[in-house]
Amino acid sequence: MLDDFLNQFLPSTVGGLVFGSIYALIALGYTMVYGVLRLINFAHSEIFMIGTFTSLVVITAIAPASPLTGFALFGVMLLIIVASAAISGGAAMLLEVVAYRPLRRKGATRLTALISAIGASLFLQELFALVIIPWLTGNAGRNQQSAPRIVDRDTVFTIGNAAVRTDHIIVVVAAVIMMIALDRLVNKTKIGRGIRATAQDPEAAVLMGVSIDNIVRVTFLLGGAMAGVAGALYLMEFENTVFNVGFVLGIKAFTAAVLGGIGNLRGALLGGIVLGLIENWGAIFLGSEWKDVIAFTVLVIVLMFRPTGILGESLQKARA
């Protein structure tokens, strides 16, 4: 048992960090929308799915004959990240206009918006499975779709017995850059101040001249763009996607957001990484089939002692 742990600890840590980064990027969207609207946007997992398919289409169109290196790799990575962020961000804004804004205008309860979110999630999955994926790829819509390889799995360096590969580094570095950029944006810019003000007290924000509709739109755009980046990184790393790829990932990312403290950007980052690591470490002892059980057990235990998550109350409130 101890032997297993020593042999597997470092490789599991690398795997956990990589997948945790993807959790964290998706978690940002849940946490931002929750912070501003007190809404759990269940369709966010489909925004991530749209990001994976955007990258799939771009990579398939470029169709590199062999994995890329150097400048070409950087260019293609940037291209799929920007494309996925743009399409996913746009889709998230559209989702807000179609599924949530009419309800908000009519003063519907939060529960109504929640049901609308679940409906939108199922609608988007089926729309992709039945119409968009067959149209984009020419394959059966519920099949797993594969993309060609763009990053070689070269080992860059090793820590103990853990090999750290090029693709691992790209995922983690890209995720960290995106998260720092978002954190700066929310904490240092005027639009960020608007987001924080709305999160803190929407009515007072309106009185101070903040346009709630604009802020909500920007929030969905930013959250969606982060999910798009996550989609691009996911596709680069795993090279396949399917219409319901977001379902389990979405639940896990939402868990990560709650674990870190919902409404709290840095909490989402921390929650994602912690969740990825705990899943992989737990799997060493109990087997990979226990990953989900371990993750949710940890969530329950953390919430018992810190009901608002690891980092607690939303940053927006604490630092506004």
């Binding site: 990589v18 797993q144 090999a163 396949n240 990979s288």
Partner: protein, 348 residues
Amino acid sequence: MGDLTGENAAIVIPPRNGAVMAVNEYNAKNPKVKIELVQYDSQGKADQATSLITKAITQDKIVALIGPAFSGESKAIGGQLEEGKIPSVSPSATNPGLAQNGWTYWHRVVANDADQGPGIAEFLVKAKSPKKAFVLSDDQEYSVGLADAVAKSFKDSNVAVETDKFSKDASDYSSTVTKVAASNPDVIVFGGYYAQAGRLLKQLRDGGVKATFASGDGSLDQQLVTGAGTAAAEGAVLACPCNIPTPDVTGALKTFFENYKKSANVDPAIYATEGYDAATSFIKAVEAGNTTGEKINEFLKTVSFEGVSKPLKFKANGEPENNAIFIYQVVDGKVKLLGPAEEAKLEG
């Protein structure tokens, strides 16, 4: 009934085509009693199969069922079929437990995992003489059944076995890859379907694991190669109780190959022959003048004919008498039939 549009539809569409072809051939002969084939898309899910079979029995008044394709859904609706007195013949459900429910209306064409598992293990022991094997599966009924059978058979042959499982919806297998890499086995066997097998195989090879990868009938599909990538899939060994005809076959299989190609516009794939045979067993029953579920079921007890896949005859518990296993391998990015397990030789 089966997964006609879902994630693993590629295993279910060929037997569906085979069954459609058999029924069309029969109806074209202008018999006294025509057969109408109704298709139910369960997406391989037990809950959908349960409501579909209720509709099939009460509204559509079916007298016999070809399917369900997978083991999970078969288990879920077996009781309803007994109550409704509807005989079923599954072309592809392979969980051993299905035959042990005391069901009298249930049958299958393929050999079960209890036959398939040892078939794979014994073949690998013979071909690779491994000292250590790693047996993996996801958490689906079929996958666990196959993996358990393989692991037990390895142990009986004195091969050390380690195991791991993961959720079928997981996309990151890094913890599993870490375990396999740390254990450094000679062979890896995966129980499960091609969607998961493709993802797993890719991540194993990316993680530097080079051991021979083998899997069962659920992964026997060209999409395994698409999912894993040509380089990662090369050399993978696949076993199946099914007999998939290729263009160079002769005799009855050749006729089947050509007719199937005409009717479905593609080459026959996994379980196409078994789907055809499942439909044929019902057609024989109808030809003998049996048109109610009970009478067809009585007839199935005595039916014995030279099927396209193999000679077909059912035991009292619904299992087929003949349980041959065939070995395939991915060679140059294509799945290639090597022959029955007793004779097959691996390439490379």
